[in-house]
Symmetry: D3
């Protein structure tokens, strides 16, 4: 009597898989909606768990800060699920410089320390505030925003995104850390050429 | 004079195909938005027609009911089109137990017999009603719902979904028909262990 | 001890409502995503049930057929849920003329009789087949399609859509049942003016 | 010379606002895509910051746990931005019982303590693991999942969602904490009536 | 000190790529959301630039008009980006016949000459107007529309779409330029058979 | 005999409207998906036509350029249709400075003159090219991009977007044309304070 039930239920197994999740197989081609899916038979719980955010990022650098992403390229389990997460470590005096995420909104929760965070909208209005432990702030998609350690001890935050692959574009890095010609930068940003050249020097951009 | 028209129109043929439909090729990788597409040159009308719902499902089983899906895994023509369909056969005394479709809303139309159908929402409000032939009921995405034969003769209904692969999760089956440890079920459902073990026995779950 | 649980759960009640469903309030403004929502406190099971498809449509008309929709304007419960349904009655000799649904794909299931159904894609390929009781056919979004009674007795089908408000544009009605100037129709369709005028006469279009 | 620049830029201000964000005005009607927007002129940084997750939830209750949401109903700034967040406090011995979020996927990061978390998919496969501080786990949309304190001290986690209003349906609460008739529950869940009545007693459901 | 910054930034490079764009690789399988992506390492600026609309289309044809598309099949750079463009050349006396785009809305800007453009909605209301140089008109998704040269000199327009692959279905071509049986056309359009046969002769349809 | 047909068709009229279009009523509240819809009975062809791009923008300004948008705030007919358009006038020596559109991708077609256009992606790769009359370039959503007149005569281009309200954020304006504190700008951009102050002076920012 029961086998028939199992037949019915087994039928659903194959049909339902596609809609539940799509763990990224980074070796297969990707498409506009994300990476191709790993075969269901090879998926294990370890595809849905990520340990890479457990350790603090190394903040011994220029910005005294580190961003450790768990986007679909690092954490294939989020592929197709419409969200991802990252860890922010900001040492005293550290800063996550002005940047945007072209593909998603961001929500930040402070775990430790104090962070001054803010964004600028299309109407050119400014929104910034100093956040304490447990405070949450949301940054709408694609807008320029920043985070600064506002205290005297290291700050820790987790930031979630409305996309498994939100992208990241740090303005300084986009302007000064590649081969964008100095003349072109000057023309499109009104910055003095000597300043551009100096920042290229610091950030590794070619002249 | 006409060949030029055909040139123009032929141009559109290749460009337009992608947007019209994407019959699933189950042998190619799938992605977050569904299966890869069968080559247009191999698509025939039979890809858009499905005969699998014409025969009644076998209701000689525990639940005296059968669900026969035409999701993208069974009916590749619906892949990417945002909808699918299934057939419900519920014998007298039969029931489609409490379940959810994680990936889509459902609309049910009664073709024969009487069905008592209902759902529970996130606010914990209950909505149920006895439906007669020709009546339609909608079940919002992801909410627990059920269908019971409310008459003395077999009932037949067709249910459509807002996804080509809406998934199906029958609560009892999720709890008692796999290897979920009895202790863990007890802890997360407050059900007595003897009841859990008994239902595992009925539904094939491992202890 | 329990009141705290209820506090927690009550918190979710208000927060969760918005995401579960949005029964249309046709008296409030609508937006790009559909109608505004009826207040949750006024929603009852009757908002999710529709009786309007139980009776056969009147097929004593020019096309010997009737389409009875349960779109969001008739069945407010589907608003925002991504699907809707309609009933097709096609008497012997009847036809649902060439038409499109600009806003959604369609899936048809034959309940009674025989229906010859088909569509034409952007590549100008033709797909049509005679469907029997229980057969299912899918029509991709926005493409021209038709249904013809292929038997000698009345045919009945239910059609579901991937949108709560898929729209309907019957080609003949769009060309000949309004005030579109005869010259303009002739220029954009290559049809002879006398044919246009005759069809305007039949379908009620102004000259 | 500059006034013209400001004219140009001022033009954009009004046009761009709509696309940047839509802080919920809970007094205006909501729609399928979320709440109506607060007037831009009244929006301040406080609309984008939420303090409600800073304090631990009260875990002196049946489940020894508390879920504190920052969904659009509590934190209007996330409305329309495709994400939200909540705080989980789970005392030693505590549990977030089996539940689903009908409207979104979830990502969890452990801040303190140990949590055993898991989910069951549509194919009835089980995925669970004990997570330590800094570990991340993702739960695909609409699937049954749970979180249990796996240590001897209080556990704290933040969970983010791919929707500003993901909903929450706790299975036990849906079955036993409202007026769903005992017979109907028994029929649709196969649970013994005495067990149902006992759980109704605990959870406040009517008989 | 700086290498650490570069490590951090390099991490983002791989993670971010997927969300920025997805230049179509026409040799890989396509899916419901579009074509698979070209490997990022092979993408150059030429993937984002298209020269194919620079030259006027040949209007020495039946309709004295030409449509030159830059859809994802011609211009792979738009794949996944939600938009595309095409060039319309309409000689004096020329016309773009009644047609629909099943997969997207259209916006037209007149560059040269005068164009009478219009559409018919699902409510059967007619909207048409003569547009001059610099005028813009929008045509909602899936609705029948047309463009006619309303002046005495050649007209040029660019039309953009809300989809990288909006499709195109010219009504006349769908009815009369393939093998759709004359009887079936007559039944579903009410057009006289002699007219159908004549138009098939002109447009290349088989009898 | 015909009245019945009209009854059937009239039924569709009310049901179909919602899905066809949603002309913005700027006096009603807006929501996450756009503005509320103007009543269908008040919609005319003039809602779908926009004359505001016919005249050249005034380029007698700092950037020797003008952007004239036809977004939903200026051209309510595009509301909800997933696209919009704007006109770029760039005098000799003019430039559209580095900017992003947070809410949409952009496609540009050169109508007159020569334009050097480019963008920088999340991987920090640079893509730029000089475009001639008739050339098309696409800029993926949210990425920094610019346009420079590369010739000696005025340049004209039309740019379309994949959103009716894509937003616009000019980096210089976001940094230097509001009240963002100089210290905060310096900290988050590494720019020297004297340069920041000078640019604030030029662009109207407060110190």
């Amino acid at each position: 009597m029961y086998p028939q039930l199992f037949v019915v239920l087994t039928l659903f197994v194959s049909s339902a898989i596609a809609g539940d999740y799509c763990v990224a197989d980074l070796n297969l081609p990707d498409g506009p909606a994300g990476y191709s899916c790993k075969k269901p038979s090879k998926v294990t719980v370890d595809d849905f768990v990520y340990h890479g955010l457990a350790a603090a990022g190394n903040t011994s650098n220029l910005i005294k800060a580190a961003v450790t992403p768990a986007f679909s390229a690092q954490f294939p389990g989020v592929n197709g699920l419409g969200l991802s997460i990252a860890r922010l470590d900001i040492a005293a005096g550290g800063v996550i410089p002005m940047h945007t995420h072209p593909g998603g909104s961001e929500i930040l929760v402070v775990i430790q320390g104090q962070i001054c965070a803010g964004f600028i909208d299309s109407a050119n209005d400014i929104y910034f505030k100093t956040l304490n432990k447990g405070d949450v702030m949301v940054f709408p998609q694609g807008l320029l925003h920043f985070q600064i350690n506002a205290g005297k001890s290291p700050a820790l935050a987790f930031v979630s995104f409305s996309s498994p692959s939100p992208g990241l574009q740090i303005t300084d890095y986009a302007f000064f850390a590649n081969g964008l010609p100095t003349d072109l930068i000057a023309t499109t940003t009104f910055l003095p050429k000597d300043v551009i050249k100096k920042l290229k020097g610091v950030l590794g951009g070619k002249n």
